[in-house]
Amino acid sequence: MALETTTMKKDPILSVEHLSMRFGGLMAINDFSFEAYRGDITALIGPNGAGKTTVFNCITGFYKPTMGMITMKQKSGKEYLLERLPDFEITKHAKVARTFQNIRMFSGLTVLENLLVAQHNKLMQASGYTVLGLLGFPAYKQASKESIELARHWLEKASLVDRADDPAGDLPYGAQRRLEIARAMCTGPELLCLDEPAAGLNPRESLALNELLRGIRAETGTSILLIEHDMSVVMEISDHVVVLEYGQKISDGNPDFVKNDPRVIAAYLGVEDEEVEEVIEQIEEIEGGQGGSKK
């Protein structure tokens, strides 16, 4: 039972093969391969500096990998080689959206405007690349109304409707995280990549986030790939966990399998910085959970 292999039969939406990324003399990612399956919440975990964010940046085109192949397979069967696309086309055509580890809001725009910016490409087309819209053609007005409705929908999901007309920079931290996710969803993605969405959230905000993520998956069937530091969050919501350490994969499977994997436990204990205590705590927590399930 520990060696979970049922996921192998699933349909992969993203396959990363032999990915390597070198910064000067540092091999940040070394021959890393994994697959994310359609409809799953896949978690990429690992100690600080393991290279998780770098993997995301390669997937979303912000870095060009030194080696390797990243394939995105859409529902329609269309395939994109992401390492060959410029970053904005990855969102536009391949339908991969992302958030950032340190939140990137348009802080001077309102919450609603943030979500409208995310619908840029759709609205550009509706406005005839601005020309028809400037002349007041009705098609743009209609599209504009629809875009506000879509924004309202995601604001409701993220429980941000009350703050829709406030500047995004005025929101509390947890709300900004949810807004960033809602904004990414407004691009209409098939794969949503979240970089440490739960970092810095208080327990209540964490709960709201989990709800939002589950809601997204249940409603749109969007596959989610998330980086997480907090093991308890990962174990609760993910279907599939990949563990990275020093740029290499050390474990891959369902949450139960991963948290019992001695290599994972060692990796988390092996962290040498000031976070040791935190990690020990997390592992104890996991082991506590394990004991409970064994009963």
């Binding site: 536009k92 405007e113 409208l116």
Partner: protein
């Protein structure tokens, strides 16, 4: 009861006493400071001997100004400021009721501008109106239009452009050269000048796309200089520093503004005066400026305008949302340049003469200063700033009474830049985000709330 009254009364007299004391100190200090600098002056007489001039009157003025200034500061200004601060803190939560004037400011301003020429003519006569319509009206409106054009690049897209005057030059020379060599009419060349300037905006845009902040500013500055140097050195076409003169005037539906018998004045049965042409130019530049404002307002509500503002806020986030930042930046450069070009061709038709001298870096700096002073992104603020800066410098030419104060050698124009700089420093200290620091959202769900300037970013190039 009596106690309270007496304390407040004694507080008042305390204040005056303190103010008097400080005024005396200030006077003494300035006396000590200036007695040698101002009170005594060494000069050479005709025989090259050193003589000591005594200027006790001037010294007295210095001392009195310091003492009276200090008295007013302590007795009135400081308490007033403290009161205002307290009142402001109290009124913080009270929602400000906007006055009728404030709400309809732009409509009232447009109406006032349309009525401006007839009112001036009625007040000072046809001939007397020349100065007010041309020097003040047209001059200010040209800068309003230029600043609104630059606002698209700097205020909305957050790309610092120090060479905006280049597009103004391209527009001016496009009209000057195409009308002299090919005899094309103003109304055809107006859009042509805009398109040519937009084209040059793209040309500038391509190499600077990868640059940000300071680097972008320097390259745009260099671009402005290149255009000017080309205009100076390409003498076969542009006649170099001599400039192009005798540029054809604009016509109104084919009616010329000259002394001929089918000219405007003759047709209307009016005595011939160049003022009619100036009034016509006033309405023309007013229409062009309003077109700029209208297009800017419309564009802000379009996806492209929102993308510009998003680009100013965070470029990486833009790319993560599938926005092509290259084309977005290029369109911002091109749109801003187009309005600069149109303003340029208007400038050429108004002056009847263009030379590279009109397109120096200082012009770019003034236009940028207007945008920053007005509040980046705010059309109203920028218009106010243009009136203050350009109108202010024009008024400085008029202030001949200053000669009475500073002596007959004083030429107010020479102090223009000094006063100009001082005013900018004062305004930026007083309102760091410009006259209008808040931003109007382009869409809303429930209510439109202005966004405080503390949330918006200036862009990073």
């Amino acid at each position: 009861m009596a106690n309270i009254a007496s304390t407040s009364a004694s507080a008042g007299s305390d204040l005056t006493a303190r103010a008097l004391r400080e005024a005396v100190f200030a006077g003494l200090i300035s006396l000590g400071l200036f007695v040698l600098f101002v009170g005594l002056k060494t000069d050479q007489n005709i025989r090259n001997e050193l003589v000591l001039n005594q200027r006790w009157g001037l010294l007295a003025i210095f001392v009195i100004v310091a003492a009276v200034g200090r008295f007013l500061m302590v007795a009135y200004i400081q308490p007033a400021m403290a009161r205002r601060k307290a009142a402001k803190a109290e009124a913080e939560d009270v929602v400000k009721e906007e006055t009728f004037f404030k709400r309809n400011f732009s409509k009232i301003a447009i109406a006032a501008l349309i009525l401006y020429p007839p009112v001036i003519v009625a007040l000072v006569g046809v001939q007397g109106s020349l100065k007010w319509v041309d020097n003040f009206g047209v001059q200010i409106l040209i800068y309003v239009m230029l600043a609104w054009g630059l606002n698209i690049v700097v205020g909305l897209a957050g790309l610092l452009d120090l060479g905006y005057v280049a597009f103004y030059a391209v527009g001016a020379y496009s009209y000057a050269l195409l009308s002299t060599y090919f005899g094309l009419s103003f109304w055809i060349l107006l859009p042509v000048a805009g398109i040519l300037a937009a084209f040059w905006g793209m040309i500038l845009g391509f190499p600077v796309l990868r640059l940000r902040g300071d680097y972008l500013a320097i390259v745009t500055l260099a671009f402005g200089e290149i255009i000017r140097l080309v205009l100076i050195n390409w003498t076969e076409v542009t006649k170099g520093t001599f400039g192009v003169s005798g540029i054809a005037k604009a016509t109104l539906f084919g009616i010329k503004f000259d002394a001929s018998k089918d000219g405007f004045a003759a047709l209307m049965g009016l005595p011939m005066s160049s003022a009619y042409y100036k009034i016509f130019l006033f309405y023309l530049i007013l229409a062009l400026a309003l077109l700029t404002a209208y297009v800017t307002i419309r564009l802000r509500r379009m996806p492209i305008g929102r993308a510009w503002e998003a680009l100013r806020e965070d470029e990486i986030a833009c790319r993560s949302l599938g926005i092509n930042t290259v084309t977005t930046k290029l369109t911002a450069f091109a749109t801003g340049a187009m309005f600069g070009g149109i303003a340029g061709s208007f400038f050429a038709v108004r002056q009847g003469f263009v030379s590279p001298e009109s397109f120096v870096f200082l012009e770019s700096a003034v236009i940028l200063a207007i945008v920053v002073l007005g509040g980046m992104g705010s059309l109203t603020g920028i218009a106010i700033a243009a009136v203050a800066m350009i109108g202010g410098t024009e008024i400085l030419r008029e202030l001949s009474f200053l000669k009475a104060v500073f002596g007959p050698d004083f030429t107010p124009e020479l102090y223009r830049m000094l006063i100009f700089g001082l005013a900018m420093v004062v305004v930026m200290v007083w309102k760091p985000r410009g006259f209008v620091g808040s931003r109007e959202p382009t869409a809303f769900l429930r209510e439109r709330k202005a966004i405080s300037g503390s949330f918006t970013k200036e862009g990073h190039g």
